[in-house]
Symmetry: C2
Subunit: 427 residues, 2 copies
């Protein structure tokens, strides 16, 4: 099965950030060619898609999500983090069921597909249901089993993790990870067990780090170390670590992260909305840390748009550091795509348009008034584009969204089911 996407403007996000008119040829799940039309292999395609002059680029990699939280969208806004969490989110989460999680996750899959997200990295419970939704939709996913032992449930959660790793073993698009929640919910002893678990399974560790000023300060008071310092000390950083938020990491923390290859999963929208602050992304990059970006859950965002996070990442660094040259458009695009692939250890597989990589790609219309004049499509993508410009989303060669249509289910049914279960959470 060969698919040709022609008449496009390629943003390859390869090592040299190649941009220009061109086409992409896909065979089954793999990119055969991405480049100028005149150099394309003259092979007959089974399927031809006209990009109509739109952008063809790698799909967005959303590196920190809690997908079932779409069900909690809009129920508890404008609240401080701890009030939000303890008085609204946790009580709702206590009522979650397998079916609720499945349909909430399916709603997120619809949103991802429509927003050009081809891969997401999640941390939550009920992971089998999240995997089931990702499978149904055809999304690529790394799903971390949340582990915490502050409530004494550490053993049960590690057992869950063993079962989930068994469940998805050998799957092409779904990978398991282990998700020690955060320093304030996971004991040093449990961090050690998580490290051993990750080593045994050759798995990545997905953890919340220094999201709020309070959390960072409490850890310093408790251990005499920052969360990153503590993780280093516990040997956790010797495994591949994905650290969500990192709003309050110190300069020393950044150097440690660079040294061990810890990737940052930055969630600027959620950090603003919950009043947490602004992560120092430009400084992290300067110090050699791999920074990706992410939406966090829809209860604190309140949507799953990677284009908005990409834009916000660029704008915030310029504004807060008072330097308009920080995070130029091409860096913002890398943060939202190839850096995410690297965070997930999938650089060889996804994140750029290059022959041999998986065909995880999107096509973005550029005929809206916000794209006129066609001065610089890369800049327009970052500073003027919007989710509604996504015309096609492809994962591993499969089209999961095209021309405002979800290809993997009845969106009205998904919305109805998710709404029905959401109402029960807040009844």
């Amino acid at each position: 099965m060969k698919t040709l996407i022609k008449n496009g403007y390629l943003i390859t996000v390869d090592a040299s950030d190649t941009c220009g008119e061109g086409c992409v040829l896909v065979e089954n799940d793999t990119i055969l060619y991405a480049g100028p039309e005149e150099n394309a292999p003259q092979e007959k395609a089974d399927r031809v898609i006209d990009a109509q002059g739109g952008i063809i680029m790698p799909g967005f990699v959303n590196t920190h999500t809690h997908v079932p939280m779409t069900m909690m969208r809009g129920y508890a806004d404008d609240l401080a983090l701890m009030d939000w969490l303890q008085n609204h989110i946790w009580p709702a989460e206590a009522k979650l069921t397998e079916d609720a999680v499945y349909w909430g996750s399916m709603l997120a899959m619809c949103e991802f597909a429509a927003a050009g997200v081809t891969c997401f990295s999640d941390m939550y419970n009920f992971n089998a249901q999240i995997a089931r939704a990702a499978r149904a939709a055809g999304l690529r996913a790394m799903i971390a089993v949340a582990v915490l032992d502050i409530d004494g449930g550490g053993d049960a959660r590690l057992k869950n993790a063993e079962e989930f790793f068994d469940l998805v073993k050998g799957e092409r698009r779904i990978t398991a990870a282990i998700g020690p929640h955060a320093e304030y919910t996971v004991s040093p002893e449990m961090f050690g067990r998580v490290r051993d678990f990750a080593a045994k399974h050759d798995a990545r560790i997905h953890v919340h780090v220094s999201e709020t000023r309070q959390e960072h300060a409490d850890c310093l008071a408790r251990h005499g170390k920052t969360p990153i310092g503590l993780l280093e000390c516990l040997g956790v950083l010797e495994l591949p670590v994905m650290a969500a938020h990192c709003v309050y990491v110190s300069d020393d923390d950044m150097d440690i992260m660079a040294k061990y290859g810890v990737s940052v999963l930055s969630c600027p929208g959620s950090n603003l909305k919950l009043g947490s602050g602004v992560p120092r992304v430009a400084e992290m990059i300067k110090r050699g840390v791999n920074v990706s970006c992410a939406t966090d859950g829809a209860a604190s965002n309140n949507n799953l748009s990677m284009m908005e996070e990409m834009t916000l990442t660029a704008l915030l660094q310029k504004g807060i550091c008072q330097d308009a040259s920080l995070i130029p458009a091409k860096t913002a695009v890398r943060i939202a795509t190839v850096n995410g692939a690297a965070a997930l250890g999938m650089s060889h597989l996804i994140g750029s348009l290059e022959a041999g990589k998986q065909a995880d790609l999107i096509v973005i219309r550029t005929d809206g008034v916000r794209w006129c004049p066609r001065a610089n499509l890369l800049n327009h993508l970052v500073y003027s584009g919007s989710d509604s410009d996504v015309m096609l989303t492809m994962v591993g060669g499969d089209i999961i969204y095209q021309d405002v249509r979800i290809m993997f289910g009845d969106v009205e049914e998904i919305k109805a089911k998710a709404s029905q279960y959401a109402a029960k959470l807040f009844a």
Copy 2:
């Protein structure tokens, strides 16, 4: 001519922030009724529009724009303010012609209509062409003639202003204002003449204030006063003043602004993108200042989306002040609508859905996945909505945009003409 918009969810933005299911009845250019369907006057409508459960709300009031700058979108991004202005924007502006301004402005009109902007307040040159575009599109506009005398051209600009005030006298939707550019481009003597001009014409004064740290500090060094302090001293604040940006206004400045009723035209996206900083909007509101929001020109934004500025206003205040309760959703909506009307001295005319006001309103689809579950449509509007959800834009009873269609011209022709003139600016 009577129009009934039925089956909607009203966000009235009236004094008590009434929200709920309802309809709006419009007669000619005026709202006859806005409220629950069961209480609506039983009058036969000539035209019935089904809002399909979507939001009906006042149109956005974009209080600080430079509409012809759509032509410069994407040509000079990721640059520091002075480099951007002196080496890219000013040389391009020097090549502007009447026709270029008209077509660039028409492109902005398309973007406004599609983004639910029903009224804009501009500051630029070639004002007759901007008025011509607003007239052609049916937008409501307050158009300020830019005045500066740093180049010796003060007299000519005041003469322009006289001519422009004559030109639009008596127009229903277009109002003239006077726009002394900023403290660093307008002499104290010229500010005095502008004040007299505004008093004579009963006009509002539109001025850039404390946009950058440097500008604010330079003014202090030059005059021993902040820009707001200087304007007070020169008697300018005795007239109605609209102050754009105000990123660096002091607490004392805010108190002065509250005392004189100076309105702030806050442009958070542009302030971030140019590396200027973040205006202290929550503090201004606390001190009694009327704060509206705006996009600024498309060369520094890079789009004209008021929904994005509304969202950014709420998110930034929460994140920067580390207080998630600041600028809750309903306040953000007021900033983008009724506060803008107040800034323009049009509170009696627009800014809310109330009987007797002009029918400047928009309908927003709520059937997208980002609006599910339908927990709280006001919150969804601010934290999850997007321009692409706008399904209808009405100004003074006239529909200027409906179902992805611009009603006042051929959008492809407008894009082509604007692009053609834009290319000449950067040739």
